[in-house]
Amino acid sequence: MYRYIIRRILLMIPTLVGVAILVFVLMRLLPGDIVEMRLASEGAYVSEETLDKERARLGLDKPIWQQFVNWMWGICRLDLGESMWTGQPITYEIGIRFQVSLQVAVMSTIIAVILAIPLGMIAALKQDTWVDYAIRIFSIAGLATPSFWLGIMIILAFLIFFTWAPPMVFTPIWVDPVANLSQLIWPALATGYRYSAVATRMTRSTVLEVLREDYIRTARAKGLWEKLILVRHALKNAMLPVITVIGLEFAFLIGGLVVTEQVFNLNGIGKLFVDAVGNKDYTLVQGLVLMVAFVFTITNLVVDILYAWLDPRIRYQ
């Protein structure tokens, strides 16, 4: 098991290198110049000499291959460099936003799991009844509804009926839990609903499949309680694909909630991404993409380990 984990961690390296090369090249293919954006926008006149000096300071006057080597050398030393826009370390810029995105991701996941697993199971048990149809409508509506639109509706509803808006500034939960939750519960609900829709449908399908297995029939024949059969036998076996879905969705939520973060004015990774791309902040975009790639690969690894924990057969393999 440990050898498997170590092998998977080592396999992450070529994945991340590939991602690094791709994002480096793509950013430089797009037209635009961060120095012009920063110093020559808003109609100001700054001399070409000044712009060239700033480009030199940022290392943009060096050959592309040299810029890449310098950056990769920094990565090897776990130094993502500095934002070309703010001059702050990339780790600092990401760190501030990461806690917001992480909390939204965790809350959305909790909401999704709380909704998806019970609803998916009930839908499977009550297949083709009105309960099943109601749950399927609920989950299809979740799939069809963009989470940012739902977020807008939530905000509008509060404004129109209560003249109230969620807080616009993030407060850590350990500082003021009420302020924290009153800001983040709404984006978590909006994204969690969509997230739960995917997981509900997956849970329903897998539970239906498992309920038709021989060992379930045997368990029933042995006279076990239905609840025991469902929880101990059916659910555990049905969870494997559901965990994959939940894991991938969680990874996506870190950095993927671009529009939802804009709607709720969350100072998260998604918003940082958009700003960094708009500002042509090469180093920050590269750092963000690497971070997201890392999160995805780690999440996949965690999911695989969970697989092994849930299914002893995989463990022994």
Binding site: L39, A40, V46
Partner: protein, 542 residues
């Protein structure tokens, strides 16, 4: 009769009582109230650095100006007057006869937030950093001071600017809202310190900054104006999208967005909040300029450029577009209705494209196009920035107007970064483009540098060189007689907009700022960079 007197006496007394009941309330309603926390919106994601000498974005000024002072500033009581300046750190100022030596007397009771006394050394060091930046230091405002020869500090509370020539551009330049006074001792140790740190003399002290989220400040109890500021604290919240901005104001999470809202949003807020919302509007020192590329045929022909201008019905657009866009005032190169600029009548009578008879103008436009050999249905790709307000709105209007003179126009819209790249490429990357000129303090002599030859200024993208204009501007910069100056500016505008039609002014912007009625003491100015120090702002009780 005695009864009548008694009745009338009782009536008088009653009247007095009623008057006394209401009069104090009427008077007290506008008396500033101390205390309160002021949350407001900065319509941006973050600022690049905290050094206003280096940056040009309003995202620096709006959250950080409360921590700093200027030498002089636009009068906060009268910010709509572009010629009214008052001292901030300066108590008074004067010039010699030919305005080549300006002497500023400083206040003596000003302290930095660390308790140290502000002296002329600090003012000199700050202006030296801007005007004569050392190697490795970027000053985005150096170009505003071509006239300054030296800055001196003969004593602790006197600063002297020696100019190479007297010019009316100097005082407005000094009032530029980015010219915060920094501490000389800090600059001596590290010229880059202010990029990541705050130390000023402003009405508020720095408390907190979370990148991408907010900036917070608290009242400076040692502020040099006694009785100011009124507020206890403020929080500048970064919200760069309009929907959450509106939600924040409607929900009371912020009291104002200092930049602006479009007309529809103003109307929605008024409808939603009624008298809880107050709206202030002002002409804005920003303008969209149609820029024909002089190196691309047929736009090298002034007849074609003139025709493009003649086609635009600016007066009608001012009435109609102002209902959907942040664009309204009609003007020339100089800020509308500035004492040095062209009046409406002068524009209508002297400048192509400003006549009230649009049909005659368009007839002339078609004639000019024909004379220049431009066929009916000639295709133009009009380059524009992918921002709704007011770029795309005005872009669509321009296209519509040009179609009325038989041109076939395609709208080529690019996102901001690519837009700038195309504009600045100077490789005839576009034929006709929208450009803009957005400034802080209204300073006509410097604002019109936009139209000089492109080998003199770096932000003229029409790729032309006009030595007549350059020479004229040189005279304008050195003319201190207002009457002669106005005549020279008239000649300048006539050449830019009429004789050569180098660039075409569309409409100047209109700044619309709806805010909670609780917010008092802030008056709108022609620029979203101005009047941001919050010194006079107070909050009425809810």
């Amino acid at each position: 009769m005695i009864q009548n007197i008694r009745s009338s006496g009782i009536g008088i007394v009653l009247g007095l009582i009623i008057t006394l009941m209401f009069a104090p309330q009427g008077i007290a309603a506008e008396k500033p109230v101390y205390g309160g926390h002021f949350p407001y919106i900065v319509s941006a994601s973050n600022f690049p650095s905290m050094d206003a000498h280096r940056e040009v974005t309003f995202a620096v000024v709006q959250p950080l100006a409360p921590f700093y002072s200027l030498l002089i500033k636009v009068n906060p009581e009268n910010p709509s007057d572009p010629t009214d300046f008052v001292g901030d750190l300066a108590e008074s100022w004067s010039a010699n006869k030919d305005e080549t030596v300006w002497t500023f007397k400083l206040r003596k009771n000003v302290k930095f937030h660390d308790g140290s006394l502000m002296t002329s050394k600090d003012v000199k060091a700050s202006f030296d950093k801007v005007i004569f930046p050392p190697e490795g230091v970027i000053s985005s405002w150096k170009g505003y001071f071509p006239m300054v020869e030296a800055v001196e500090a003969p004593d602790d509370f006197t600063v002297v600017f020696k100019l190479k020539f007297g010019t009316k551009a100097f005082i407005p330049a000094v009032a530029t809202p980015y010219l915060w006074i920094y501490k000389a001792d800090i600059l001596a140790k590290d010229m880059h310190w202010y990029e990541k740190n705050v130390m000023g003399t402003g009405a508020f002290k720095f408390k907190d900054h979370v990148a991408g989220s907010h900036v917070e400040g608290v009242k400076n109890p040692d502020y040099f104006i006694k009785g100011r500021p009124y507020l206890d604290s403020f929080r500048a919240i970064f919200i760069n999208k309009q929907a959450p901005q509106v939600a924040a104001i409607r929900g009371g999470r912020a009291l104002i967005n200092f930049r602006a809202f479009p007309p529809k949003t103003r109307d929605d807020l008024v409808k939603a909040l009624g008298d809880k919302i107050t709206v202030q509007e002002s002409p804005w020192n920003c303008v969209l300029i149609v820029t024909p590329n002089h190196k691309v045929k047929p736009f090298d022909d002034p007849r074609v450029r003139r025709a493009l201008s003649l086609a635009l019905d600016r007066w009608e657009a001012s009435k109609t577009l102002s209902k959907i866009a942040i664009a309204k005032p009609v003007g020339g190169c100089v800020f509308p209705h500035h004492p040095l600029g062209l009046t409406d009548e002068e524009l209508q009578q002297n400048i192509a494209g400003y006549s009230l008879d649009i049909e005659a103008s368009r007839k002339e436009a078609r004639r000019l196009l024909k004379e220049a050999g431009v066929p009916e249905g000639f295709k133009i790709k009009f380059h524009n920035r992918g921002v709704e307000q007011p770029y795309k709105v005005l872009g669509i209007w321009v296209i519509d107007q040009w179609r009325k003179i038989g041109l076939d126009v395609e709208h080529w819209v690019q996102p901001t970064a690519q837009f700038y790249a195309t504009l600045r490429a100077k490789k005839q990357a576009y034929a006709v483009s929208m450009d803009f000129n957005c400034r802080g303090v209204v300073n006509p002599l410097l604002d019109i540098t936009k139209f000089l030859s492109d080998d003199i200024v770096g932000n003229q993208y029409a790729e032309y060189q006009d030595r007549v204009l350059d020479e004229l501007h040189g005279k304008i910069m050195k003319e201190i007689d207002p009457v002669k100056l106005k005549k020279l500016l008239f000649q300048f505008e006539k050449r830019v907009l009429d004789e050569e039609a180098h660039q075409l002014i569309t409409l100047w912007w209109n700044r619309i700022v709806p805010h909670h009625s609780r917010l008092k003491g802030w008056k709108i100015s022609p620029s979203h960079y101005l009047n941001q120090d919050l010194v006079d702002v107070w909050l009425a009780k809810e």
